[in-house]
Symmetry: C2
Subunit: 178 residues, 2 copies
């Protein structure tokens, strides 16, 4: 079955700091036409940083689009041209003050492929050691250590309600047989 | 630690079919100023539809923002004023041709809370029975039955690379002890 859509025209509405927005006119595989709103994003990384005894380093921050504070795993947007693994090491240092002797790719995921091009690369970070940190200028974070078993419970209670965090915690728990 | 950001001004760039885009000027908790691009989205549902023998009904569709076909669990955007559970039943019927005698909420997740307000409600759908279906006019889907154990492997190989799908599959696998 042919599913691909052909772009007939693209109209940029916004070119911004984190995202661009364009509206495409498309021809569907069966010849009908529709429009697609596409949020362009450079891509990002997320990290599950593991301290001894399966404690996870998490960050609490206010997320304006969500209108609330969220408890998440560390994450951040790729700098232009930056390799995902290098970005993961940088974001881990900036957001937690740790570096990792072992950084293991877990999986890649599109976060909202209905309208966003963002692809997220998720890593497990182990054998952590303190490293100098310089936080992003416009991010204010609270660092929290949460036992993995507790973090998993917080998914069910709704206190952890961020998709990349749920994916990352569940993948690490599965790998550890927890 | 106070983390909340105060919105000083909002400027709408786009009011569209699936998303709006606004740019806010914000005051951070420490008094500094920054801007935030916010993609407004009505919210959505995703469903993990389970047939006997732990076969998962999945959908393959072309996702223009991702530039490729993706293998996902069924999902869709809330109609204005629609309850998430009603939306889940509707999307399940539209995308798979099945209804569920048992629809269980699994978790809620913000998909990209750095720039998108989208909140996703995810359900497990069990005790499925065929129901008449009318697909969305501008969606073209291929329905696929995938054993849950195989779907989990496809996360590791990268063939399943959609965040809501990874979350949903892993939550169901965990609940079943798989």
């Amino acid at each position: 079955m042919k599913l691909e859509e052909k772009v007939l025209s693209s109209n940029y509405i916004h070119k911004g700091r984190v995202v661009n927005l364009r509206v495409d006119e498309v021809e569907l595989a069966d010849g009908r036409r529709s429009t697609r709103e596409v949020v362009e994003h450079r891509g990002a990384v997320a990290i599950v940083p593991l301290l001894p005894d399966d404690r996870v380093l998490m960050v609490r921050q206010f997320r304006l689009p969500a209108g609330r504070e969220l408890l998440e795993i560390p994450a951040g947007t790729l700098d232009p041209g930056e390799e995902p693994a290098a970005c993961a090491a940088r974001e881990l240092r900036e957001e937690t003050g740790y570096a990792a002797a072992r950084l293991t790719p877990l999986f890649c995921s599109f976060l909202a492929p209905g309208y966003s091009s963002e692809l997220l690369h998720t890593y497990a970070a182990e054998d952590l050691y303190p490293d100098s940190a310089n936080a992003d200028d416009d991010e204010q974070l609270e660092l929290v250590e949460v036992p993995l078993s507790k973090a998993l419970k917080l998914i069910s209670t709704g206190e952890v309600c961020d998709a990349k965090t749920i994916c990352g915690l569940l993948m690490v728990a599965r790998a550890k047989g927890l």
